[in-house]
């Protein structure tokens, strides 16, 4: 399969940092929407809070993304020329199904709509948004119709996470056009970072604790997929003779970072497969609010006070939750225990900062996923 090296006599399009960040945000937005939809569809009731975290996570990046794209244009104010045709005597809309940039513009618009609706829906479910529109929306998205809506949104989300790689490949650039796997690679990578970020932000929301285990497994799965895609990518560019451009020199360091971030997941995939984590206490998510004790709480040990809150929360969890390391009494669906809900206060700063175990792995994944995009996009310049 390794024949003549591919010839490339092209100049590069100077797609640089705006585009790197756009790819990064598109992956997060689409990936978290897709994971949240999977949790809502096939998870159990205790996964709902984590799903909401994902839907909250999906909207901000997809709002920033078009701004980055517009700023990257040579004539930013003409961005709408990709939607409305300005060539004389041509149809009103501009659309080329064979040009990924054209398809992507519409995909991004459509997904932004779904992400916004799901964001508002999550706010309504959380009781943050109490306007009439919110309750109407909640009613409209109940049951199967809601699932269908989110499924369509998830497909669009996966599209915007993946089409970016296809866009790079539909060119004549070295490395990019020597492979067909960039779309798959960026999709897998987007899912990896989304699972890590949902778990990380779940730290700030104690009722996501039951989902910590499954999110860890998802990270493993997606990290494994990502590594497989990297290997296929490497194989295709080696066959084309352009591997040194993307893997050589300073980029080798970035690829090392990429493997560092995905290695824990891949190793866990080999040792545990898709089974729930062996050490769930590692993924213990602590709330950012601590209960007020009658005695002065010891801020040096938020663990003790947090456990109290955990147990109180645990009594309300639905049956069949993940192995969360706490000894929950069988859920009797009584929200009222013999003691009243402890008063909580905003935790001191030390409790707002997540424990290093909760922060380290997502940080590694974020850096790894970002490095992947830098290596693929910037190396051809």
């Amino acid at each position: 399969m390794i024949g003549e090296p591919a010839q490339h006599f092209v100049s590069d399009p100077h797609w640089a940092w705006y585009i790197v960040f756009y790819f990064f945000f598109a992956g997060i937005a689409g990936g978290s929407y897709a994971i949240s939809t999977l949790l809502r569809w096939r998870g159990n009731a205790a996964d709902e809070p984590a799903a909401r975290v994902g839907y909250y996570l999906a909207l901000p990046p997809v709002l920033v993304a078009p701004i980055l794209l517009i700023l990257d244009l040579g004539q930013p104010l003409r961005f709408w020329h990709m939607i409305i045709s300005t060539t004389p005597d041509s149809g009103p809309f501009m659309f080329k199904v064979w040009a990924p940039m054209s398809v992507g513009v519409y995909g991004l618009l459509a997904f932004t709509f779904f992400a916004a609706v799901s964001f508002v829906h999550a706010l309504a479910l959380d009781g943050v948004l109490r306007i009439r529109l919110a309750t109407q929306l909640t009613r409209w998205l109940e049951g199967n119709r809601g699932l269908m809506f989110h499924a369509v949104g998830a497909v669009l989300g996966l599209f915007i996470a993946g089409y970016t790689g296809v866009l790079l490949s539909v060119s004549n650039q070295p490395v990019w056009s020597d492979t067909w796997v960039l779309g798959a690679l960026f999709l897998a990578s987007g899912l990896t970072i989304s699972a890590a970020l949902i778990q990380f932000f779940g730290y700030y929301r104690a009722d996501t604790q039951p989902s910590a285990g499954i999110l860890t497994v998802f990270e493993r799965l997606f990290a494994g997929l990502e590594v497989v895609m990297i290997l296929v990518f490497a194989f295709t560019v080696v066959a084309a003779g352009t591997a040194s451009i993307v893997f050589g020199g300073p980029w080798a360091l970035l690829w090392f970072v990429v493997f560092l971030g995905t290695a824990p997941g891949v190793i866990a995939l080999f040792t545990r497969g898709l089974n729930p984590p062996a050490h769930p206490e590692w993924w213990d998510l602590r709330p950012a609010r601590v209960p007020i004790e009658s005695s002065t709480p010891s801020v040096e040990d938020p663990a003790a006070t947090a456990d109290e809150a955990d147990r109180a929360e645990g009594a309300r969890d639905a049956p069949g939750t993940d192995d969360s390391g706490e000894s929950a009494a069988p859920a009797t669906a009584t929200a009222t225990s013999t003691r009243t809900e402890p008063e909580t206060r905003r935790a001191p700063l030390s409790a707002w900062l997540p424990p290093w175990r909760a922060a380290l792995f997502p940080a590694m994944v974020v850096i790894a996923v970002f490095s992947l995009r830098v290596a693929v996009i910037i190396s051809i310049h």
């Binding site: 040579g74 990924p100 940039m101 990019w176 798959a184 497989v228 089974n275 069949g320």
Partner: protein, 305 residues
């Protein structure tokens, strides 16, 4: 000559008679009001360096001056070629342009509409010949940042004038005319050169093997790669990666989806197992040795697409 719309026009550039005078560059820049080449202390005679937003004709110089003792050179001491947009029949730039700025004119040339282009640079990513550039200075319409390249002097053609470069070329290395007429001339010229013993002469882009046929095609004095022209095997359209790219992404999505379902199922199984074995409820600490052996659990369909 009468230049009639509806006919395919182009260039036949015969590099065997190019003297490297760069009259074509000067004429092109004069007519199109482009900036002068900013490479001043360039290497050798090639101080234009590339085609870009301000260089729409660029004379390539390839120094192959032989050792004086070995040969006279036989027309190969310098390979000189006036490079230009090839106005491909199936143009990569036109294919990927998301605004529809790149069109085919009534003279079958490839033209970028400066008022439509938004400077996304997809065409730059697509062009296999490194022809297109974006303007860092205002163009003649006062617009910055849009893609620019040879227009085949569209404005001159509409006024029945041949392009500036072919008009200025003193050796008729650059010939302009209807494409079929140019192709006939080219095959005759090639025949003549071969009979004279110039066997390295070859035609590039004169038939459909390269991008459906180049409206601006060449007679070269060496392999195409020497002139930074991809050979027929490497002359590929960007859209070739559409199907593979989307299918690959779909495959990854499917794998991720089914893997996710499997993970959820494993969790459910473990919970049911715990519920069955310890009826009083989950006792998290001791439940780790349940589940299927880890060795058989690998990502389903672990190989990528």
């Amino acid at each position: 000559m009468e230049i009639t719309p509806g006919t395919t026009y182009g260039f036949f550039t015969d590099t065997s008679v190019c003297i490297g005078c760069k009259a074509c560059e000067v004429a092109c820049k004069t007519w199109n009001q482009l900036d002068s080449a900013d490479q001043f202390f360039g290497d050798g005679y090639d101080n234009t360096a590339e085609l870009n937003d301000q260089n729409w004709r660029y004379v390539q110089f390839h120094d192959e001056v032989p050792d004086a003792a070995t040969s006279q050179g036989n027309g190969a001491a310098f390979l000189m070629m006036s490079d230009v947009c090839k106005h491909c029949s199936t143009a990569s730039c036109l294919e990927v342009c998301p605004t529809g700025a790149i069109i085919r004119t009534e003279f079958d040339s490839v033209f970028i509409q400066s008022d439509v282009c938004n400077g996304c640079r997809s065409c730059m990513a697509a062009c296999p010949y490194d022809v297109i550039g974006t303007a860092n200075v205002p163009n003649q319409y006062g617009t910055m940042g849009v893609a620019q390249k040879c227009t085949l002097c569209y404005d001159r053609l509409q006024d029945n004038m041949e392009p500036a470069c072919s008009k200025a070329c003193p050796t008729e290395s650059i010939q302009f005319g209807p494409l079929d007429e140019l192709r006939n001339r080219a095959t005759q010229r090639l025949e003549t050169l071969h009979q004279q013993g110039v066997t390295q002469a070859n035609l590039y882009g004169h038939d459909e093997t390269v991008y459906g046929g180049l409206n601006a095609f060449f007679l070269l004095m060496d392999e195409p790669e020497k002139y930074r022209l991809p050979n027929a095997a490497n002359a590929k359209m960007p859209s070739r990666n559409n199907v593979g790219g989307y299918l690959g992404a779909l495959g990854a999505a499917v794998l991720a989806f089914f893997g996710g379902l499997l993970a959820l199922r494993r969790r459910q199984e473990k919970v049911e197992e715990e519920a069955a074995s310890t009826p009083s409820g989950a006792d998290g600490a001791s439940s780790n040795n349940g589940g299927a052996p880890a060795a058989t659990e690998t990502t389903p369909g672990g190989e990528g697409q």
